[in-house]
Symmetry: C2
Subunit: 337 residues, 2 copies
């Protein structure tokens, strides 16, 4: 690999001059600069990020932490979209992204924080993890600039998908279409789904509707099978709901199956509502009535805020930023009478 030294000797100048010429410092003559740059190009010089980072204490590399288990890895549509948008945004500013490895079972593995320190990440984005994991907390509390997505810590910038807005819109919509008997499948084990459920209750109350307790059931987040079973139960109720809210789009496909097996039609016999707006759903019929989270915007804002925090920590304020999504009307919710 050709280094500054090679260019320096071939140009008959010092290494310092070469460095400054390539970094366009003002104390190098225009002709010398030109000569050095020519030579650099001719030799195919590429700077060494490692060496650079040793002097500057900046790696221009951002760590990405997210969960891997079961259904929630890269293949999680929400995260994949978020990551892609984030990646694109930071790359535009000259940053790369590297995953913080999260396989807890590897022998000799190091903590998230130590991994981040080892690579000297300029900053870290955290999404889709168990936010109460001590290792995650340790990372958040460290001196490394952090942005979290969809979870609030004190003193940390957070980009939030507006779950409250989403649930409000969905309830408004269902009510406006004449539904009163709405069942709700709560996705357990996630802080975002809690916000949704609270909103659901509150909103229904505003409409003066008391939700019978048997209309509220639980099923794991993003679990089609659980949703399938809970749906069967709901369908067997004496006073069957006219509409079922699912914790996410995946879950609602489990519901669809249960409904079909019972010989019922969506939306004629029963309406269903998802949450997320996963990409594939656009291609599949019936088109799901759901709330599409604006993952693109989440990624862009996470990138913008993290980079600001890295580059101008003094002026960047710690804040929570809400991003609204969009109601997708779809074909799975019918207007009653």
């Amino acid at each position: 690999m050709v280094s500054l030294k090679d260019i320096a000797s071939q140009c008959g100048v010092s290494v310092a001059t070469v460095s400054k010429a390539l970094n366009d410092h003002s104390d190098i003559g225009a002709d010398t600069k030109e000569r050095i740059r020519e030579k650099a190009k001719e030799l195919g010089y590429v700077p060494n990020a490692a060496a650079k980072s040793m002097k500057t204490n900046r790696t221009h590399n951002i760590g990405v932490l997210f969960m891997d288990d079961a259904m929630s890895g890269l293949q999680h549509d929400f995260f994949a979209g978020l990551l892609e948008s984030f990646k694109r945004s930071v790359e535009r500013e000259g940053y790369d992204i590297t995953f913080i490895s999260n396989d807890r079972s590897t022998p000799g593995r190091t903590s998230y924080l130590n991994h981040a320190r080892y690579r000297r990440f300029d900053g870290v984005i955290i999404a889709n993890v168990h936010f109460d994991d001590p290792e995650v907390v340790e990372l958040v509390k460290s001196d490394i600039p952090v942005v979290t997505v969809d979870h609030i810590y004190n003193d940390t910038i957070t980009i939030l998908s507006d779950n409250v807005d989403g649930m409000n819109k969905l309830v408004d919509y269902a009510i406006s279409m004449g539904h009163r008997k709405i069942a709700y499948i709560h996705g357990v084990d996630s802080s975002v789904t809690k916000a949704r459920m609270t909103t659901f209750y509150k909103k229904m109350e505003e409409y003066g509707i008391t939700v019978p307790s048997e209309y509220i059931v639980e099923s794991p987040y993003r679990d089609t099978h659980g949703a399938y079973e809970q749906t069967l139960k709901l369908l067997e109720l004496e006073d069957r709901p006219t509409c079922i809210f699912y914790p996410d789009d995946y879950a609602s496909y489990g519901g669809l199956r249960a409904i079909a097996e019972k010989g019922l039609k969506v939306p004629d016999d029963i309406s269903i509502v998802g949450f997320d707006g996963i990409r594939v759903a656009r291609h599949i019929r019936p088109r799901l009535t759901t709330y599409r989270q604006n993952v693109d915007e989440l990624g862009v804002l996470a990138a913008r805020n993290l980079i600001d925090l890295i580059e101008k920590p003094k002026t960047t304020l710690v804040q929570q930023i809400m991003v609204k999504g969009k109601l997708l009307e779809g074909d799975t919710l019918k207007k009653l009478n």
Copy 2:
């Protein structure tokens, strides 16, 4: 950040001794080693990857290159699965992965190869790209260890999903279920789909079936709308096929829609077959008849081969490795008579 120097001064030994102690060299006394390690832990020492890489010429970082455009980014199920498996495998061996940025529009961007050089990646995995892109070719031809997925170059290790096997199995299956009139939607613009089409023709010929030219149509890979339109055309043929092969699972959802709009039922009126075995498909009814590529195995093998190439380049042979997938029977192909 605490460095070897800090440990050295606090332990009253030289930096060299600390380095050797932590790397378990044999020429340091057991008690000294112990003392140094204690102190390192006490001070919360974390090595500096950049400094280390300068001396060792190894970064333990692998570059990932893949396409971003339209439907083929991280959100491509095939790639997401491959990446996740690859990531998990290399992490187990102490490697991290960093994306090689692929936004061609960024001003001042550098080529793929230069990006890889800048970060001094130990190796690179290339998947899902335009393999004839000059920048990709340049990267492949360079001295950086490379493994490609689903595309063959000379002198490069390639892990291939066995498209030939897949198409053979699908045709065998369709034929065994009594289908003779099979239409084929060819996914243009991809080297893997070409292999499939060739196999389709050959296999049909083996069965003594001549496929009428109007049964062969084209539509972009992973394009539901194109598949929708081509399906409509196929359905309007006088001698309508009993079964349609799609270039991929996504496309087949476009087909499903067209069929439904024509008032036909799958599989009673017409059968359809996808390709890929995307994850969501498992949750959606009807269950697609398709060929599930073994993305997990692809990732594992890509990782294994790349790491071998990095760590023992002499003994690692350049080869093409085929990975077979699995026929998923699903519910979209009916037995005739």
